[in-house]
């Protein structure tokens, strides 16, 4: 049968379908339909989730390098007491840029990038639900990041800490434009993150392969879904607060001015209502990495699927009830403090359930000590230490004692690096073969792991002691008589080992891209759908849409994949199904490449940037924004409209 004549029960169907086609013909049609054009235009106009995710991850790593260099410069200054290598003004900018970059420009976009790459592949779809929104989100993110770093290069780097407290960041003390760049960077990155959250929710709810009921969904996809929901309800808080901040600074509103009925703690409430869930936006998908990596290396499904899923949802909900524990030192009513102490300790319960489920998984399996698995073990050790100090600082008396000291710096790095960066590095080693088609070097990987693991612990563990000895955070130097010099020198030297660990990672990536071992489709013998396609996957992800009848589809069907036929292949279509049971409902047309999201991001970016200097930019800036959005949504003459 030729490709163009598809009949079903005697009825001729519109368009060309994949029904009964041989693999070569199918590939020919699909690769033409889902192609990204060559050259600059294609690069700017692509809506392929894999290419966009790839950009997210590479860009986030570049920001990690910038943040890492600023940390090393700080350690260089702190290596000896009363050093004069970095002055207080630059130091303030460095720690602010470090924290801001790590949280807003590295951790969240990195987790989103992985989700954008993995979710459609893991659920057996061809793209995310809103491909152009996805493209738009990347361009907005990267322009926000560039803006704040260019401002830093011109000595206008934000300098009021990554949480930009008022009144320090307000109009009275935050002179110049430094806090404005910070506030607008937040607007860019939050617009971007919210866009990604919306598309992940719609993609997971509606585009899962037939048969992938919610209780067959990979745990990683659950974690991406919970992350998206936390973003949805947390990020508006920081957008509201940073907008209020910039309005106070630019047009004279009085939100945070106590002399005119405003209140500085309003900032802290709004910021931490976002800021605490932010930690879980980063941590939740990292636990998803762990639950995805573990089964492949212990050769058994994760123990306690339901328990882990409920824990993820529980952590997501509880994360909104903890924000006040960042404000114990502000003199809040004691009853309120007790409530937030209890809720802060409560979140240790679902986190603990997950840890025990992973231990049970390892216990009941046959572990193979490959590099991704090493990072999982490193994560469990480090995160447990960070969790324990977390329970400690949840207690008000102890928190007051160590507030604003290096104890808190140690704690937050243990939970964030231990809880998120270790699983992330495991994820890089685990999915690199899928993304590039080549394995990362195992030997360099082990160097990478041990340098990062030892370097990390040797750098950050002594900070607990420095904090207990009273060394405050965010000071550019300390007196000789304090006796902190030796420990600080040790910390600074060990931070070089940690940096070297990341250097080895980048070296490994560069070498492996050229001459890494070819991976094949499923080098780890894993069970989820992304391993059912080639490495790297084709532009259309799957030649035919998989049908799922088991929680570990590739372990149940190791040789032959059950698939659904009937999608058009001469036009971009994805399968849309019911939310709970993924019963097919619609052959949904999927957006083609377009330059408009890029142009819209430029229009939005220019309006945001100009609004730092004049509020009228919001007015005249809305015109190009409107034009580009109309261009974006104006329907093309797509074949689906014929039906």
């Amino acid at each position: 049968m030729s490709a163009s004549e598809v009949e079903l029960d005697g009825e001729k169907l519109k368009g060309i379908r994949d029904t009964g086609l041989d693999d070569a013909t199918l590939h020919g049609y699909l690769s033409k339909t889902w192609k990204t054009p060559d050259g600059l235009y294609g690069w700017l106009a692509t809506v392929d989730h894999k290419r966009i995710a790839h950009r997210y991850v590479v860009t986030a790593f570049l920001f990690l390098v910038l943040a890492g260099i600023s940390a090393l410069v700080m350690r260089f200054q702190l290596a000896s007491p009363e050093a004069g290598r970095v002055g207080p003004d630059l130091y303030n900018q460095l720690f602010t840029m470090h924290g801001t970059t790590m949280m807003f420009l590295f951790a969240v976009p990195m987790m989103e990038g992985f989700a954008i790459y993995l979710v459609p592949l893991m659920i057996g779809s061809r793209n995310v639900a809103f491909p152009r929104l996805n493209a738009f989100s990347y361009w907005v993110y990267v322009s926000g990041g560039l803006m704040i770093w260019v401002a830093f290069a011109f000595n206008t780097g934000a300098d009021a800490g990554w949480f930009s407290y008022v009144p320090l960041a307000g109009p009275e003390y935050g002179t110049g434009k430094r806090p404005d760049f910070w506030a607008q960077m937040v607007t860019y990155t939050e617009v971007s993150a919210l866009a990604v959250a919306v598309e992940i929710i719609a993609t997971v709810f509606k585009q899962r392969a037939p048969g992938m009921t919610l209780d067959r969904m990979p745990i990683y996809v659950w974690s991406a879904l919970v992350m998206a929901f936390i973003i949805l309800f947390a990020m508006p808080a920081v957008m509201v607060s940073s907008t209020m901040l910039i309005l106070d600074r630019l047009v004279g509103t009085q939100f945070f001015n106590p002399a005119s009925g405003g209140d500085v703690l309003l900032w802290q409430h709004l910021f931490w209502f976002f800021g605490h869930p932010e930690v879980y936006i980063i941590f939740i998908p990292a636990t998803g990495f762990v639950s995805a990596i573990l089964p492949a290396f212990v050769r058994r499904p994760v123990f306690g699927y339901l328990g882990i899923v409920l824990s993820l949802i529980g952590i997501g909900l509880l994360s909104f009830g903890l924000w006040v524990h960042h404000m114990f030192a502000t003199g809040l009513p004691q009853l309120g403090e007790s409530f937030f102490t209890a809720s802060s300790m409560m979140i240790a319960i679902p986190s603990g359930i997950q840890i025990f489920c992973w231990i049970a998984t390892i216990w009941g399996g046959r572990p193979a000590l490959a590099v991704p698995f090493l990072f999982v073990l490193g994560f469990i050790v480090t995160f447990v230490i960070g969790g324990l100090t977390g329970v400690m600082v949840a207690s008000v008396p102890l928190d007051l004692q160590v507030h604003d000291t290096y104890f808190v710096v140690a704690h937050l790095h243990y939970v964030l690096m231990g809880g998120a960066v270790f699983p992330l590095l495991g994820a890089v080693y685990y999915w690199f073969p899928k993304i590039t088609g080549r394995m990362l070097g195992e030997q360099l990987g082990k160097w990478n792991f041990w340098l990062v693991f030892i370097g990390f612990n040797a750098t950050f563990f002594p900070m607990h002691i420095l904090g207990l000895q009273g060394m405050p955070r965010r000071v550019y130097t300390y007196p000789l008589e304090s006796g902190w010099g030796g420990t600080n020198l040790f910390v600074s030297l060990c931070s070089l080992a940690l940096a070297a660990g990341f250097g080895v990672l980048f070296l490994n990536v560069v070498l492996s891209l050229r001459r890494g071992r070819l991976a094949g489709d499923n080098p780890w013998g894993a069970s989820t759908l992304e391993w059912a396609t080639t490495s790297p996957p084709p532009s259309y992800n799957f030649p035919r849409i998989p049908v799922v009848d088991h929680r570990e589809p590739l372990w149940k069907n190791a040789e032959v994949l059950p698939v659904a036929e009937g999608l058009r292949i001469d036009a971009r279509e994805v399968m849309v199904g019911t939310v709970a049971d993924a019963v097919p409902q619609i052959r949904q047309p999927s957006a083609d490449n377009s330059i408009w999201p890029f142009l819209a991001a430029i229009a939005v970016g220019v309006a945001f940037l100009a609004s730092i200097y004049t509020p009228w930019a919001v007015v005249w800036g809305s015109l190009p924004v409107a034009v580009t959005f109309i261009g974006w949504f104006w329907p093309q003459a797509i074949p689906e409209d014929e039906e």
Binding site: F233, G261, A564, E565, P584, Q585, F633
Partner: protein
Amino acid sequence: MKHRAVANISRLPTYDFGASTPMWWGTLAFIALEATGFALAIGAYLYLASVSPQWPIAAPPPDLFPGTAILVVLIISVVPNHMVEQWARRQDLAKVRVGMIVMSAVGFLPLLLRIWEFAALEIRWDQNAYGSIIWFIVGLHTTHLLTDVGDTVVLAVLMFTDKGNTGRRFSDVADNAFYWDFVVASWVVLYFVIYWFPRM
């Protein structure tokens, strides 16, 4: 991997209405995040009121007329809004065209009234925190009105082109009606906070 066909989805439609479609869920997600923004703005309002010895600060409660007029217009607009949605679901192009013109006009009305509303707040945004927060809330809602009216006008124009008479476009019209309900519902809540809380 080898493939074995076990299902055929050839006969599925290429569009549907409401919760079947990803676009409806995307719209709901945007509504959820924007509603969170409104809720936080209300939270900020109540927080500032709770820390201030008097509320409103150095101003009378806002004049009821323009805000109430907007409330009435918006509540009445729900009727044509749902008629358009029903016509869209029935794919009745002629009626949808008329309905979209009506909804575009209905959308401009509260925007016009809002010009008076800002004056009727009886305080400037930069006088004190009370002025700041009510301008912020009304401004936030105005942004929603503006974007949805813009969206409605573009869709109305589209319905008069050759791209109008397709199932997907009717589905867009239905989603647009869904979002308008949110713009109306959010004003009902915000109206009571801005106009009646200071009078309690």
